[in-house]
Symmetry: C2
Subunit: 244 residues, 2 copies
DNA sequence: GTAATAGTGTCTATGAGACATTATTGA
DNA sequence: TCAATAATGTCTCATAGACACTATTAC
């Protein structure tokens, strides 16, 4: 049995909410292949380095943040022959949900890095198969907001219920009733905890401040579909057969 | 930038229900490393072969089945340095849910292959890091039964409601009320469709036969926890931060 | 007949969305 | 005062689980 020689990279889908839009960090490539094209940040896994470590290192290099500042998980692995013209490259994609960064993205080794609204990325715009990786990451993020308290990963350490609602509305591209939303998130045990403080955003009654709670699963879940009587509508992120 | 040279393998978590138990296909290793130890079936990805193709090829070699016979999806990727004493090996794990096979498992290049009850695998029994891969696969399977119609992947083309209920009870290790279960699965649109036929298992009223429907997502989902008033109890398969 | 399994109906509690109402601030 | 936002309460409908009841078979 001969060992098959392959290069392994990690690619990052870094999502945040800036200017009331779901944005993704993209790198403008300076060198071939795909010069001057936008791509997901990423790089080769170093010898002796674990996959998650390599992804965390890239995260730090691109944003200065540690994985603990938001949510960080493995997304999927892509290895179709020919996906990289330089040779056989298998990439392990990671997904991170991050709070809005106070500081701008520092320049890296690429020609430029920028947060771009996810809705504005046109199909075929990204290098390699990064369109698909990004699409998988977005779907994973949307699905996870339903069953997990991960929406808080987009928020700063202290946030209001309205802040949290804005996360859901932005990621799902829907409107949610503020009163029912408030009742649901404050009623879901372990989701958010009051800090005791309040804040006044513009005008209106001061809002309580919360921090994320200890729950890792939402009971009951918040549901995307307004009227849950649909049938086989959407294809979930990993629910198709014969997945790559 | 130097290309990091790595070997890439695929490993398979093949699950089925046999003798009223959730069973996993294991291979008895004949050669080092880990001689005489049980391991998940797998092998190296061939040059020019896509990851999913390699996994499907291994599935055919081990069971004679195609991915369409059940459910087949990518699980996760594991690449911790030292996980394989032969060198840097990154493995992409796939999960398959299969119906009970009428024919026994044909012998492969390994010393032996056998279906083993998943509950009987003791921690540390499997070679490499296959304990963890198996645990991740089991948790993924359990979670997916809630939100998707994948339980039908464990069933033959035609099955009864009681057959389907047995799948849930076996995978979740719980008892479900037959009457409520019947109402829920027949009420979930696109989950199962009556074929018109009936069958008598032992004695009792004949049961209608069903086939899987077109739905890819269950509305409403079937829930595992009997009394959904718990809080941060279970850690979902991919919901922890800083995932590998 | 009895036992066993399949399938339907009914009851109650809970959570959903819709929406009124009160509370607290700035202008 | 008014406008705006925060927070709570009420109403109705759908679905959950518990469980009674009927249907159809083997023995």
């Amino acid at each position: 049995m001969t060992l098959n020689v392959v290069s392994v990279t990690v690619d990052l889908v870094l999502l945040t909410i800036r200017q009331a839009a779901l944005q993704v960090l993209l790198i403008r490539r300076g060198i071939p292949p795909y010069p001057d094209r936008w791509a997901l940040p990423g790089g080769f896994v170093l010898p002796g380095e674990d996959l998650g470590e390599a992804a965390a290192r890239e995260l730090r290099e691109e944003t200065g943040l540690d994985p603990q500042h938001g949510h960080f998980e493995q997304l999927a692995t892509y290895g179709t022959p020919g996906r990289d013209p330089r040779g056989r490259v298998v990439t392990v994609a990671y997904l991170a949900l991050l709070p809005d960064l106070p500081s701008p993205v520092p320049g890296s080794d690429a020609a430029g890095a920028a947060w771009r609204p996810a809705a504005e990325i046109t199909p075929g715009e990204l290098a390699f198969d990064h369109d698909r990786i990004l699409a998988d990451g977005l779907e994973r993020a949307r699905a996870k907001l339903e069953y997990t308290p991960l929406a808080t990963a987009f928020c700063p350490p202290e946030f209001t219920v309205a802040d949290l609602r804005a996360v859901y509305e932005t990621v799902w591209r829907t409107r949610l009733d503020p009163r029912n939303f408030h009742r649901k998130v404050t009623g879901a045990e372990g989701f958010i905890e009051p800090t005791g403080g309040t804040v006044i955003r513009d005008r209106g009654r001061p809002a309580q401040l919360f921090r994320r709670g200890p729950a890792t699963l939402l009971h009951p879940p918040l549901l995307r579909q307004p009227a849950p009587q649909a049938q086989s509508s959407r294809v979930g992120g990993t629910s198709r057969s014969s997945d790559l």
